[in-house]
Subunit: 498 residues, 2 copies
C-alpha cells in the first residue's frame, strides 16, 4: 500500500494497520489481551465508534479473537499471515432462482464426485466432515447399550405398537424435551419426533411444507445434502447470500419473499453454518423468525452444529423466538456429536407436526428404538458432557492447526473462515483457481477434498473448497496440506510457499 | 338348497356335497386323508377332471387342505361351519383410477383411525400385525449384539465413510446376496441397499420410477401403508382386483396398461399377500414379470411375507423371473420375522439402482450399521432358522384357532381367507355390515381391529376387516372374538352365535 493510499484510509483502518504491524513484529504477542475500548479511546483520543470499528476490523482480518464479556485477544497472526477472512457476499446482484440448467442435476453431480472418491485409493479424506471413531468414547457407548439391553430385554423384539406414540419412545421424547428446554425451547414431549439423522428430518419438513415446483430459500453456500434433498423433492432452490459474520442476508430474503410467491420455506443452520461456520447473532435470529412468520413461510432450522459451539455462552436456537406461530421446524441430529453409527436425530415440526408425523409414518414408519434410548440415556449424563467437551477441544486444536497449514502453504490471496467451533474450514482462493481441478489432482495423490461446486447450484464457488478438520493433524496431514497448497499455487502460477 | 337345485349342479359339485356332508357327520374325521385322485375316479366312475374339480372345490370351501406331493386332508370342517372362503373379485367392472375424492385423504383417514386407537384404552389389539416380543428369541438377539460390539468395538462411533458402499455394510451386502441366491435370485453384493424396514424401500422405489401425477397399480385390497406412501408421493393408485387364489388379475392389469399411459409401476406382494394371504402361483408370477417388462413398467415386489410361507416347498420371488431387464425392484424387511425393533430391510432396485441409491442418500443417508450386522449374522444361522420355524408353527396354530373362533361366533354368511401362512385373516361379512361401526364399538370395549376401509381408496371393503393372528389365543382372545362376533351379528339383525 502506498503512503498516499494509506493516508486516504479512514482513521480506524489506519489505527488497525498500526496494531497489525505491532502484531507482525511481535510487539503484541499471540494470546495477549488488547487494551479495552475505554483505554483505546483515551490512548488514541478517538471516539467510541472508531475504537469499536478498529477492533471489529482487526477481528474480521483474523488478527483478533473476541471472547464475549472478556475482551479481544491477539490471534497467532504470523501463522495466518497472508490469509484474510472470507469476503462478504456481493448483495448488488439480484437473487434469482437457479436457472433450469443449474438447479437440476446436483444429485447427479454429487453422486459422480462421491463415486470418483470411492473408486480412488484415498488415504486421507479431508472432504467428509464426520469425526473419526477415535474421537468418541466407544467403551462408554457400548456399555450403555449392554445395560439398556439388560434393563429392556425385549428392546429389539418389540415392534412399534400402533398405540404408543407412533414409534417415538416416551423416554426419548422426554429427554429431548428436557434437552430443548435447556436451550430455551419449550417442546411438549408428545411433539418430539425421532428421525434417522438430520437428512430425514429436513426431508420430511420440506415435503410437509412445499409441493413440487415450489421454492426453498437456502443459505449460499450451503451443505450439499440439502441441495440433494431439495432436488429429490422436485423443489427449486433460491440461494440467499450469506455473510460470514451474520449469516443469511435478511434484506435479500425479504426481497425474495416480495418477488417469489412460490417461496414456501427457508432452511437455515443458524449456529456454525455449514460450510461457512457462521454464528448468526441473536438479534438477526429474532428478525429472521419474525420475517418468516410475516410471510407465512416455514423456517426449517438445522441445529446439529449448535452442539459444537465453543465457549461457555449459551446457544439460543431460532426456535426459541418462535413462541406463538409454530413457524419454526426444529431439527437436530447427534451423529457427529454423540455416535455417528447410531444416526439418531429428532425434530419438532411446529404447526406442521401432524403432517410431518403422517409423512414419516408413510415413508419409513418408526425409527429404531435402541438409538432413541441410547441418546435419551447419554445426552444429559456428565460422562457424555465431558466427552463432548473433549471432542470440541480436540476439534478446536485441529481446526487451528489446519488453519495454520493453509496460511503457510496455500496461495497468496487465499481467504478463510475462522469459525467459533465446528468441523471444517471454508477456503476461498483467488479467481482463476479451480477446485474441481484440485479435486482430481488431489485424488490422484490419495487425498479427497470437497470442491466448492458441491455447495451451490449456482456455480459461484468453483474457486472455493471445504476442508474437514476432523483428523488429528499429524505428519501425514501436514504433508497433504503442503501438497494441496503447492498444487493450488501451481494452478495460479505462484511459486509454492511454506 | 332344494333337491331340484341340487340336481341341476354339475357332477363334481354334487360329489363334493356328499363328501362335505360326510365330514359334517363325522364319517370323515378332521386330519384324515382323502382318497387319491385315482381311487376317487375308480370309486365314483368319474373322469380325472371331475375328481380334480371336486377336490379343488372342497379345498376352496375350506373343507380340505392340500399338502403338496402328499394329498388332500380333511380340515376341522365342523369348526369352520358356515364360513366360506373369500369370494373371487368381480372382474366385470372396468378398472378405473380412484376419483379425486377417493384417492386423496387415505393418510388423513388412516391417521384418524390410528389416533382413535391410541386414545382408547386398548387391552387387545387384533388390528396391528406385528408378532409380540414373546414370540421372538430376545436372549439370542441380545447376545449377538453384545458379541458384535466386542468384535467391532467402534460400530456405533464409526460414521458412514463416503468411501465405503454409501453406508451399506459389505458383510450385510454379502449376506443378502447369499440369502437371495437361496431363493433363486442372483444379486451382486454391491447392488444390495440397506433400508429402514420395507416402507422406506417401497417409498424409494416409487419415488425413483414415478413422478407426481403418475399412476401406480396396487392389489385390491392392499396394505394401507402402501396407499399412504403412494399418496405421500402425490401419485395416483389404480386398484387391480385380486383373486384370493391367484392374486392380482393379469387381465385387469393388461387392460390398465393399454388404457392408462401414466401407469408407471405395479406394487405386488406375491407371497402371502397382505391382507388376503394369497400365494401367487409360479406360472402367474412369470406372466406378471413378462407383462411389466412388455409395458416398460417397474414391478415393485414386497417379499417380506415370503419368509412366513408354511411347508417345505421353496418360495420363488418374482425377481427370480427377472433375468434380463432388471424390471423388478425387490424389497424385503426382517421386522416381523427376525427383530421388530431393528427395522432392518434391504432392496435391489434392478435397473433403477443408481437412482434409488441417489434418493436414499439424499433423503436419509445411510442406514444404521448395527441392524445390518445383526441381520447379516443371524439370517443364515441354524438358531435363527429354528426360531423362525417355531414362530411359523405358533402363528399357524394361532391363525387356525382364530379361524375357528370366527366360524363359531361371526355372522352366517361370513367369508374368510385361509392363507398358507402369515399373520392375519381377512374377513368378508354380508352386505349391510359396517366394519367402521364395529371398529368404534370394539374400541369402546378395549379391542382394536383393522376395518376394511383401511385397505383401499375405493370404499369397496367397508363390509370387510383384517384380523391379526399374532397373539396366542387365550381366554381373553376367545372372549374378544365372541364379543366381536356378537356385535357383528347384532348389526346384521342375526342372533348371536356360538
Amino acid at each position: 500500500m502506498t503512503l498516499a493510499a494509506a493516508a486516504s484510509l479512514p482513521l480506524y483502518r489506519r489505527l488497525a494497520g498500526d496494531y497489525a504491524q505491532a502484531m507482525g513484529l511481535g510487539t503484541l504477542q499471540a494470546g495477549e489481551r488488547m487494551p479495552s475500548v475505554r483505554e483505546l479511546m483515551r490512548r488514541h483520543q478517538v471516539s467510541l465508534s472508531t475504537a469499536l470499528q478498529m477492533l471489529r476490523h482487526l477481528e474480521e482480518q483474523g488478527h483478533l479473537e473476541a471472547r464475549p464479556r472478556v475482551g479481544y485477544f491477539v490471534r497467532d497472526a504470523r501463522a495466518l499471515d497472508g490469509v484474510a477472512l472470507t469476503r462478504e457476499p456481493d448483495l448488488s446482484q439480484p437473487v434469482q432462482p437457479g436457472a433450469q440448467a443449474h438447479f437440476v442435476g446436483i444429485n447427479e453431480h454429487i453422486s459422480l464426485l462421491l463415486e470418483r472418491g470411492r473408486q480412488a485409493q484415498v488415504h486421507l479424506d479431508v472432504g467428509g466432515c464426520t469425526p473419526p471413531p477415535e474421537l468418541f468414547d466407544h467403551r462408554f457407548l457400548n456399555k450403555t447399550v449392554a445395560r439398556l439391553l439388560r434393563e429392556h430385554p425385549q428392546l429389539l423384539t418389540q415392534g412399534r405398537s400402533l398405540l404408543a406414540n407412533q414409534g417415538n419412545h416416551p423416554l426419548f421424547q422426554q429427554a429431548m424435551a428436557r434437552h430443548a428446554l435447556a436451550a430455551g425451547i419449550r417442546v411438549a414431549p408428545g411433539d418430539v419426533l425421532a428421525t434417522t439423522g438430520n437428512s430425514e428430518a429436513v426431508s420430511l419438513a420440506l415435503a410437509a411444507v412445499a409441493a413440487p415446483g415450489d421454492m426453498v430459500a437456502v443459505e449460499s453456500p450451503t451443505y450439499y445434502g440439502l441441495l440433494q434433498v431439495v432436488e429429490s423433492l422436485q423443489l427449486q432452490t433460491l440461494e440467499i447470500p450469506c455473510s460470514p459474520r451474520t449469516g443469511l442476508s435478511l434484506e435479500a430474503l425479504e426481497l425474495a419473499f416480495q418477488t417469489q410467491p412460490r417461496l414456501k420455506a427457508v432452511v437455515v443452520v443458524p449456529e456454525l453454518q455449514m460450510p461457512l461456520g457462521t454464528r448468526m447473532p441473536d438479534a438477526h435470529k429474532a428478525r429472521l423468525v419474525a420475517l418468516c412468520a410475516r410471510y407465512g413461510a416455514a423456517l426449517i432450522e438445522d441445529d446439529s452444529y449448535g452442539l459444537f459451539v465453543e465457549g461457555t455462552q449459551p446457544v439460543k436456537p431460532l426456535k426459541a423466538w418462535d413462541s406463538v406461530a409454530g413457524q419454526v421446524i426444529y431439527c437436530q441430529a447427534f451423529n457427529k456429536s454423540l455416535a455417528p453409527g447410531l444416526r439418531q436425530g429428532w425434530m419438532n415440526a411446529g404447526r406442521w407436526h401432524g403432517r410431518v408425523q403422517m409423512l414419516k409414518f408413510a415413508q419409513s414408519r418408526n425409527t429404531q428404538t435402541l438409538g432413541q434410548l441410547v441418546v435419551a440415556e447419554l445426552l444429559g449424563s456428565p460422562t457424555h458432557q465431558r466427552s463432548l467437551e473433549r471432542l470440541k477441544a480436540q476439534l478446536k486444536q485441529q481446526r487451528e492447526a489446519m488453519a495454520r497449514l493453509v496460511a503457510r502453504h496455500f496461495p497468496i490471496g487465499t481467504r478463510m473462515s475462522l469459525p467459533g467451533g465446528g468441523l471444517c474450514l471454508w477456503l476461498e482462493l483467488p479467481e482463476g483457481f479451480s477446485s474441481a481441478r484440485l479435486f482430481g489432482d488431489a485424488l490422484d495423490q490419495g487425498i479427497r477434498i470437497a470442491p466448492g461446486s458441491m455447495f451451490s447450484n449456482s456455480g459461484r464457488y468453483e474457486h472455493c473448497l471445504r476442508l474437514a478438520c476432523t483428523h488429528p493433524v499429524d505428519a501425514a496431514v501436514e504433508q497433504a496440506l503442503q501438497l494441496l497448497g503447492a498444487m493450488a499455487c501451481q494452478q495460479l502460477g505462484q511459486a509454492p510457499r511454506g
